[in-house]
């Protein structure tokens, strides 16, 4: 199956999470599902990196969390983008685009 090939690139997980949460607050499992769906299964976020990432973002105060009841009556921890996180998402997106362009350019010229 080549599990590693589905792993997002190192350092991009924060961006993926922020982007996903920018649409709506969501719990951890929901985030993985969402990323998988949107990328047609190309990117699969490993739980081992998701939860530390969530914790990291929460420490940076880019997201915050609260316990809510899901549609089918289960308690789950929902994460939500903070205003600071919204700003950060913009900056991260910019920097990602620059990065991709640069890599692209390099690949083309060589």
């Amino acid at each position: 199956m080549g599990e590693s090939s589905n792993e997002p690139l190192r350092g991009t997980i924060d961006l993926l999470v922020l982007r996903t949460l920018s649409l709506a607050p969501m719990h951890g499992w929901g985030i993985t599902q969402r990323i998988q769906q949107v990328t047609d299964g190309v990117l699969e976020v490993n739980q081992g990196s998701l939860y530390p990432a969530l914790q990291r973002l929460e420490q940076k105060e880019w997201i915050d969390s609260e316990w809510r009841v899901t549609d089918n009556n289960r308690r789950a921890k929902y994460y939500r983008l903070t205003p600071l996180g919204k700003k950060a998402l913009g900056a991260e997106t910019q920097s990602w685009r620059r990065h991709v362009l640069a890599v692209e350019q390099l690949l083309r010229t060589t």
């Binding site: 951890g28 499992w29 599902q33 739980q47 081992g48 939860y51 914790q55 316990w67 289960r74 921890k77």
Partner: protein, 896 residues
């Protein structure tokens, strides 16, 4: 209250941590359940769905661990864990822990205590502004018939004051005792300081209330004034500020109180209670009999000042006629200027530094002890360590864990040590206030704690690193394969341990030698014959006031009447009086003595002898033996010429080979204090150590209490120390004596009541301090050395259990096993002893100033030290040896 609050906060923090963990659990469970449901929705059976979800999620624990690390809690948690782990490990081996903590506590505590004393007595500046500029001025001589050091002189100061270029101010002072009377209070015996008014400028101290002496008060025939000390002001005058301007009577002289000194003022000693002006008369300057003090100009060294004064001193010949240039030159008199602190501290300086050095050595022994204990522990744990490394423990973490252990030991050890020192320092002034100068300045303050902490940190480096370094070298594969058997055959570590023990024994030898030497000195000093028999003698002092006893005949009549009454008391075998008791701490009054018909070479000072005053009965009461002629009699008092006694040494110095009885002597140089008439020598008595036990007697001339009518009070018997020999205890005798005194004159205070033995004991107090200090250092050192030896031998023996078992199975007898272990222990202690004795020999100079009557290589001391060390070594070896000999070979072979 604060304790409970802290507990609550701690519980909250703990609860928060629990909550975070719980939420994490719940979040992950939710994740797995959702995943399982997803699979279930696709038709996978529930159990398989859950399995898949769990597999996909991976290890919950490792995710949680990653999160903990992410929380940053990991560092703290790990440290807390390591500390808890270390605590558990230490609790598991209470023997080791107690030994290590106790060793460290004694080492660090001993250092902190001695350093408190060093800091308080030697390092802390005296409590005066810019105290380092205050110097004492004395005079050195060529020795011979003169003491090597003389105090200062009003004549010398007279020329110093006007001519020097290195001093801001100079002052003269002297101390004496007087009777304080007047007012409603009881008459009181007080310590008085006579000083020039410049003293307060030298010290830069001002009265808390009132003023210092005015210029005219410090001049001859000026108004009589006094400044009183804080303690006297409170106890006698109820801290009443209105005392200023009122009068008090000191030795019969009515004086106006002009000032009250602050409570902290304790010049020259804390005992001083009153200060009166010196009123130096330029027409009546004296020889070397007062103390000199001065404040140097900024930037001037004592050596500069001494040179400056030396250049001026010859001018003294133009001021007084008893000191000629030739006299100064021949006697080799030259000024000596030293920091005043030196004078205050005196001989204790070298004792304290040496003691600190000894304590440093003891601390080093403690370090080595703990290091070797840790080493043994590390050896024992090598297998565990190897196992943990094989299971993937990070070496860094293992290092952190063993550091945590060391840190805990050190923390416990230094805390206990500081508490120990705190107790010891608190006890010191209560146990022995007279043992040390400046004992009020000794305290365990921030500086001491800071220095102790630094020392503790150094200790940690010494003992903490060794075992860690050893553990780093562990190679898991070989260790696991070899087990403990491999560990025992590690020759290198065995040798290292033995070397450590040799070093310990060697280091323990040095304080032991020091202690032995001081003990022997004390023994010698105790054996010194003071020249009188102190036991069974009660002494006290009374003073008559000039107002009530204006004529010397009145004074004599009173003393004789009082002595008669005392002698009539039941149980009194002899009673007499003198002006100054021998060994009572005051300086001797040294004066040149001339002999009729004997011409000393021109421009040399005749030999100095002490001038003493005694009543009939004094020699009998003191137990001073009569050697020739007769003792003083009451009739000598009224003699036209007066009769004197010489001590043996004085007779030898003054009369050379001439017959003692019948010679005529006179005190003082011609024209000094008016020429005294010749006195007949009527007898020779035994020598008495007058100033201190360890100084050879200078020789003395005893005058009858009043040997000529009309001589001024100072020379007379205004205040006399009584000596009463009686088998009765002082508590019985004293009330009787008080009653007699009250009947004669109720206004006279009776002071300084003590036994003559206690006076002699006090003369040994300096030596006693060094003796106690060294004994403590030696005992701790010895104790630690023994622990070290015992610990290592026990361990080595335990490690050799299997080997011993094999030997015994092959026919070795228990006694041969025992001998083997004993031999090893004794070899180690003998090697340490040999090194220690060589080191002690190399350090012998350090000990010399503290010794009396023995050389620093005293063979008896060395033998005793060797015996004690080898004895303790044998005892420390005996237990492991016995254990080894009792081994059951079968069990020993199974031993792992």
């Amino acid at each position: 209250m604060r304790g409970t609050r802290r507990l609550v906060m701690w519980l909250q923090a703990l609860a928060a941590k629990r909550r975070v963990e719980r939420e994490l659990d719940e979040e992950m469970r939710f994740h797995i359940e959702m995943e399982a449901e997803k699979h279930a929705r696709r038709g996978v059976p529930p159990s398989e769905a859950r399995r898949r979800a769990r597999v996909a999620f991976g290890s919950v624990e490792s995710h949680k661990e990653a999160m903990r690390e992410g929380r940053g809690a990991r560092g703290i948690e790990r440290t807390a864990f390591d500390l808890r782990f270390a605590g558990r490990q230490l609790r598991k081996t209470p023997g080791f822990t107690v030994a290590a903590v106790l060793t460290l506590a004694l080492g660090i505590g001993g250092n902190a205590a001695v350093f408190s004393v060093v800091h308080g007595v030697l390092l802390r500046p005296l409590a005066y502004a810019e105290a380092d500029r205050i110097v004492s001025i004395t005079h050195l001589t060529r020795g011979g018939s003169l003491p090597e050091r003389l105090p200062s002189s009003s004549a010398a100061h007279f020329v110093y004051e006007s001519g020097n270029r290195t001093f801001e101010t100079l002052a003269l002072y002297t101390t004496w005792h007087g009777a304080l009377t007047g007012g409603d209070a009881q008459p009181e015996w007080v310590n008085v300081v006579t000083a020039q008014r410049t003293l307060f400028d030298v010290l830069r101290v001002r009265p808390a209330l009132g003023r210092v002496f005015a210029a005219e008060e410090d001049a001859p025939h000026g108004p009589q004034v006094v400044i009183i000390g804080d303690a006297l002001w409170r106890t006698r005058y109820g801290a009443d500020p209105a005392i200023i301007g009122r009068t008090l009577t000191l030795d019969g002289v009515v004086r106006e109180v002009v000032g009250i000194m602050p409570a902290a003022f304790a010049f020259p000693t804390p005992e001083a209670q009153l200060w009166v002006p010196l009123r130096r008369d330029p027409n009546d300057l004296s020889g070397f009999n007062v103390s000199g003090i001065g404040r140097l100009r900024p930037g001037v060294t004592p050596e500069d000042a001494a040179r400056d004064l030396a250049a001026i001193l010859p001018r003294v010949a133009t001021v007084v006629d008893f000191l000629s240039l030739a006299t100064l030159r021949d006697a080799g008199i030259r000024p000596d200027v030293r920091p005043y602190l030196d004078e205050v501290v005196g001989r204790v300086r070298s004792v304290l530094w040496t003691l600190w050095a000894m304590m440093a050595l003891v601390l080093l022994i403690a370090c080595v002890n703990v290091a070797s204990l840790l080493l043994v522990r590390a050896e024992a744990r090598r297998r565990e360590v190897a196992l943990r490394i094989a299971l993937g423990a990070e070496r860094g973490h293992l290092l952190a864990q063993s550091l945590a252990e060391s840190a805990m030991l050190l923390f416990a050890g230094s805390t206990a040590g500081i508490l120990l020192a705190w107790g010891a320092v608190g006890l010191l002034p209560r146990v022995a206030p007279s043992l040390l100068p400046r004992s009020g300045d000794i305290r365990l303050d921030a500086v001491v704690i800071a220095v102790t902490t630094l020392i503790a940190a150094a200790v940690a480096v010494v003992f903490g690193v060794v075992p860690v370094a050893r553990n780093r070298a562990v190679a898991p594969s070989s260790m696991l394969r070899g087990g403990d058997r491999a560990a025992t055959s590690d020759r290198h570590s065995g040798r290292l341990r033995q070397l450590l023990v040799v070093a310990q024994v060697a280091m323990a030898t040095i304080p032991l030698v020091g202690s032995g030497l001081v003990l022997r000195s004390f023994q010698k000093l105790s054996a010194v014959d003071p020249g009188f028999r102190p036991d069974g003698v009660l002494t006290f002092r009374i003073a008559l006031t000039e107002a009530d006893y204006p004529k010397s005949a009145d004074v004599a009549r009173f003393h004789y009447a009082f002595l008669d009454r005392i002698r009539a008391l039941p149980g009194v075998t002899a009673a007499g009086a003198t002006r100054r008791l021998p060994l009572a701490g005051s300086n001797a009054e040294m004066d040149p003595v001339r002999v009729e018909g004997r011409v000393f070479p021109p421009n040399t000072l005749p030999p100095l002898t002490e001038m003493r005053v005694a009543t009939p009965g004094y020699f009998e009461a003191m137990g001073i033996p009569k050697l020739e002629g007769r003792l003083l009699e009451r009739s000598d008092t009224d003699h036209r010429t007066g009769a004197v006694l010489l001590t043996e040494t004085a007779a030898r110095k003054l009369l050379a080979s001439r017959p003692g009885i019948g010679a005529r002597v006179a005190h003082g140089l011609p024209q000094v204090r008016g020429e005294r008439p010749w006195s007949d020598v009527v007898g020779v008595v035994g020598d008495v150590r007058g100033v201190s036990l360890d100084e050879e007697p200078m020789g003395a001339v005893y005058y009858a209490m009043i040997n000529r009518p009309g001589v001024d009070m100072d020379w007379l018997a205004g205040s006399m120390a009584y000596v009463v020999r009686s088998p009765l205890p002082p508590t019985t005798l004293l009330p009787l004596i008080r009653r007699e005194l009250a009947q004669l004159d109720p206004a006279i205070p009776l002071a300084e009541t003590r036994t003559l033995s206690s006076v002699v004991e006090e003369g040994r107090s300096g030596m006693r301090f060094s003796m106690i200090g060294f004994a403590v250092a030696a005992v701790i050192g010895l104790f630690m050395g023994a622990i070290g030896l015992y610990g290592v031998l026990s361990y080595v023996t335990a490690q050799r259990t299997r080997e011993i078992g094999v030997r015994m199975a092959l026919g070795a007898t228990p006694s041969s096993v025992r001998v083997g272990v004993l031999r090893r222990g004794i070899a180690v202690s003998a090697a340490g002893l040999a090194i220690g004795l060589v080191a002690a020999f190399a350090l012998r100079r350090m000990a010399t100033p503290m010794l009396y009557g023995i050389t620093p290589t005293d063979p008896l001391t060395m033998l005793a030290v060797a015996a004690v060390l080898l004895g303790v070594g044998a005892v420390a070896t005996w237990l492991p040896a016995r254990r080894a000999a009792r081994l059951d070979p079968v069990r020993a072979l199974r031993w792992e």
